[in-house]
Symmetry: C2
């Protein structure tokens, strides 16, 4: 169905609409802080992978360090993120969320999670797994390593407050 010229227009369009609305919820909240989507992404990944270095963050986001600079500086200046000198390599800066940063990251994730829950409302674990599998398969194969689907990597890595 809705495959014209062998092109899957239906899912192409659905993906556009779905992502547009998916990002609209946090955008509202971010506006109150004078932040944009870039701040959201940085905060999200610092929160999810506390202690990641600047280089690792750049690699995950696939942006340049000049693009990151302003956004990261603002998050540090507003006390949402802190930098600690790397323990092994003192050139590195490990990034950690503050309590304030974690709270904001959570506030931003909440409506998105709510939207996902609603979309999977009448679905069981099978359907959920299928959606996860589909989304993962949409990611470039060589980049799937970046994805941290399981919670294993997180559980032992509580660095507390900084």
């Amino acid at each position: 169905m809705s495959v014209e010229d062998g092109i899957d227009f239906a899912i192409i369009e659905l993906f556009f609409f779905a992502y547009r609305d998916f990002t609209s919820d946090p955008d509202q909240i971010l506006a109150d802080y004078g932040f944009g989507r870039a701040h959201h992404r940085v905060l999200h990944f610092v929160n999810r992978r506390p202690g990641l270095t600047v280089a690792e963050l750049l690699d995950v986001l696939k942006i340049t360090k000049q693009s990151l600079a302003r956004v990261l500086k603002q998050l540090i200046d507003t006390d949402h993120v802190v930098q600690l000198q790397g323990p092994r390599d003192r050139r590195q800066r490990e990034l950690y969320p503050t309590a304030k940063g974690r709270a904001l990251a959570l506030a931003l994730a909440r409506p998105q999670s709510r939207r996902i829950r609603a979309a999977l409302e009448d679905s069981g674990a099978t359907e959920r797994a299928l959606v996860e599998r589909f989304l993962e398969a949409m990611v470039n194969p060589e980049l799937r390593a970046q994805i941290d689907v399981g919670s294993a990597k997180m559980s032992g890595k509580s660095h507390g407050e900084h």
Copy 2:
């Protein structure tokens, strides 16, 4: 699994990565034309809903007419899109793709469709329907009318070349 603080971080992240890579394919092609993502979106919807008016396009894209102006002008100047005076209301401008515009829209959609096909490789119609249902459910309910999943609306609307 991977639901911390009751937040579905797994799908939030997967959605980010999936959409990033999903848009990266056409971005490469667009660069050759000096176009950006905005041009892609306009071209896509003009192609999908030939004859739609400027106001309808703004409503679908959820941007302002000032944002659309430059992009649409460039697409018209480069002979990818044409404007025709509305038959009923002559204030309106109906937008149609040219053959050139259709060719570009198709070239942009091809790698995206290929990616979707690969992601659904070992899936049947059931799984495909499930993914469609999920994506549709992610869209704001009041905006689902915009989505043109079926091909019914398209089939009889071939306006030919302009």
